[in-house]
Amino acid sequence: MRMRRSLPAAAAIALIAAAAGPVAPAHAIDPGKGHPGFCKTAAGVTVVVDFQRLGGTTIVRCNPRRTRGTGLDALKGAGFQIAGVQRWGEGFICRIENRPSAVEELPVRGRDGYREACVDTPPGGAYWSYWHAGNNCAWQYSQWGVKNRDFVPGGFEGWSFSLNATAASNPRPRIAAVRPGTAGRPCVAREEPEPTTNDPNERQPGGRAPGGDAGNGGAGGTTEDPLDAARPPGRDGELPPPRRRTLTSPSPGADDPANNVAFDGGERARDVNELVKEQSGASDVAPWAAAGLAAALGLGAWLTARRRRRARDA
C-alpha cells in the first residue's frame, strides 16, 4: 500500500488518480440488478419500497435470486441504492434511493428541523421500518435485523418509511403481498420465530442445512417452500437487536390487491449520485482545486525547508 508517503507525493497520487478515473455512470436504480414489478414466479423475492409520508411513487422490484440470502441481499439485489448509518454500517439502513436525503427536513415530533445525516441510529419517529410477508400473507413487522434473517423465497420484503408512528401504528407497505395471478391462494409462509435473546448476532433459526437451497420456482410454480437455511451465526457487527413488538395478531390473509397504491419500477427516478451532488452543492472543480492546492502548499513547504536548510548550512 502507498501509506508511507510524503505529502507532495500524496498530492501527486491524488492528482493522477483524479485524472485517470472518471466517475462511473450510475442510475437511481441499478438496472443490472433485478427487474421492475412483481416477481413472475416463486423464484426470487419481490421488494416493495413505500415512501409513505415522504412522498414519491412506491417502487416494486423483483430480485430473481434463487439462492437464499439475507434481507439486505434481497434489497440490494433488486437494484435499490441504500445507505447505512456510519455507526452500524449496512446493518441499519437509513436511506433508500437517497430518501430521506441529507437536505430533507423531516417533521419529526419533538425534533424540529430534523435531517437524516446517517451518522447515528435514526430516531424512532423517522426511520425505515422493515416488513416481510409470504405470498398471499399479511405484512409482518420484522423482529429481526436486516442482516439477521433470510428472505422468504417467492415472498415479499417491504420497506415503509415510518414517520411519527408508534409500534402499533407503523404503516405497512401499501402494496398487498400478492403476486399477480396468485390471488386467492392460501398463505403458506411459515411463522417466523421471535428472537429469543438480546444478542445482536443471533440469527433466525432455520430448518434446512446449508446446501439445500435450490430455488423451486418452476414456470408454473405455485408451491411456496420457504427455504430458511441457517447461516453460520454472528457474522455481522454488533448492532443492537430490534425492539420486540407485540404483533397485532396478523390477519391470515393479505390485503386486497385492489387497494394497492400506484407504483412503478423506479426507472424514472433520478440518478442518486447526481442528485446527491446537486443537493450538496458539490462542484466538479473543487476536488481538483483541493488536490492542486495541496500539491502547491506541499511544494511551497518543501522549497522553504530547502532554502532554510541551505541558509543554515551556509
Binding site: 456510519q86 476536488p287 483541493a290 502548499l297
Partner: protein, 383 residues
Amino acid sequence: MRRAALTTYFLPRDLHPAAWWAWTLGLAVAASRTTNPWLLLTILAVVCHVVVARRPDAPWAAAFRIYLWLGAVIVAFRVGFRFVFGGAEGQTILVRLPEIPLPAWAAGIRLFGAVSAESLLGGLYDGLRLATMVICLGAANALANPKRLLKALPPALYEVGTAVIVALSVFPQLAESVQRVARARRLRGGASGGRGRRRRVRVLRAVIVPVLEDALDRSLKLAASMDARGYGRSGAASPGARFVTGSLMITGLIGVCVGVYATLDGSTPRFLATPVLVAGLLVALAGFRLAGRRVRRSRYRPDRWRLPELVVAASGVGVAVVLFATSSVDPTNLNPSLTHLSWPLLSWPPLLGVLLGVLPAFLSPPPEHPYGAVPAAAEKVAA
C-alpha cells in the same frame, strides 16, 4: 507611519504559544468533523506549510517529522485492520483471503475473508482523519514553546499545568534527543562496525541508552528548575484544603474532557455533551478559584497578546467554525458515502474554509532566530 506599523508587525519574534495552540486546535476540530479525503489532505498541506514557514529553530520544532510518521503509521494500521478483521462490507470485492473459522464464543469477529474496496476506503478515510488530528497536535508542539506556555498559564492552573507541560514536552524532547545522539554518532564515525544482527544490537545500545539517559536527565533538570521557581509548592494550605482543590479540579477537567468529546463527536449521546461540559466547567472553575486564591505569582516579561496573535488564533477558529456551519448544511460531502464506489464529492465552502488556516504562513511575524543573526534568504522566503 503605516510602513513603520507594518515593519513592527512583521518584526521577527515568537508568538504567544496560546495563539498557535488555538490555531492548531481549530484545525484539529475541523478535521474531526470530516472524513472527506480532499479536505483532510488540504488540512494536512496547510498545516505542513505553516509549520515549515513559521517553526522556530528550536529543539521541540524538530519533532514535527515524527508526528508525520506517526500519522502514516496510523493510516497503515487502520487500513491493515480492514484486511484482518473483515472488510466485506460493500460490493467491490478486491481480494478473497482464506477466512479463518473462529469458535462460537468469538461470534461477531471475522478473521480475513473477502476484502472490499469500500471497507478499505472506509479505513483509509477514518485513519486519515485521526492522522490529521494527530499531526495538528504535532504542529502545535512544533510551533509553540512549551515552557512559555507554562509561563502564560493562569496561576490557578498551577498544579495541573506543570504535569501537562511535562507530558507535552516529553515527546518532542525524545525526538530531539534521538536526533542529537544520531548526529553525535555520525560525527564520531560510529555508523561503521560489525554486520548484520550484531551490528543492529550495537546500534540499538548506542542510541537508545544515551537517549533514555538524556531524556531522564532533562526531565530531572526541568523538575528541579520548576521546583526552584516555586512550582508545585503548596504553600500554607492545609492538606484538607489541598485535597478538596485537587479533587475539584480533576473532576472538573474530566467532565470538561467528556463534554468536549461529546460535543465534537456527532454520534455520542447528547446528554453527555452540553450538560457534562457545563457541569465540568463549573466544578473546574470552583477548583481554580480555590487554587488561585492562595497562589501568588509575578511574571517576568509576560508574553503579550497582540494583533498577529489574534490573526493566528482567529484563522484556526475560523476553520473550525466554517466546517461546523457547513456540516449542518451539507453533511453529505463531509462524510462521503461509501455505499457506491465513487470519487468523494466536494463543495466550495468547506474547502475555502480550510484555506483560511494557511493565513498564518503569510500574516504572522517570522520566528526569532536563536542566535540573533537572521539568515536573509530564509526569512525572505518565510515573509
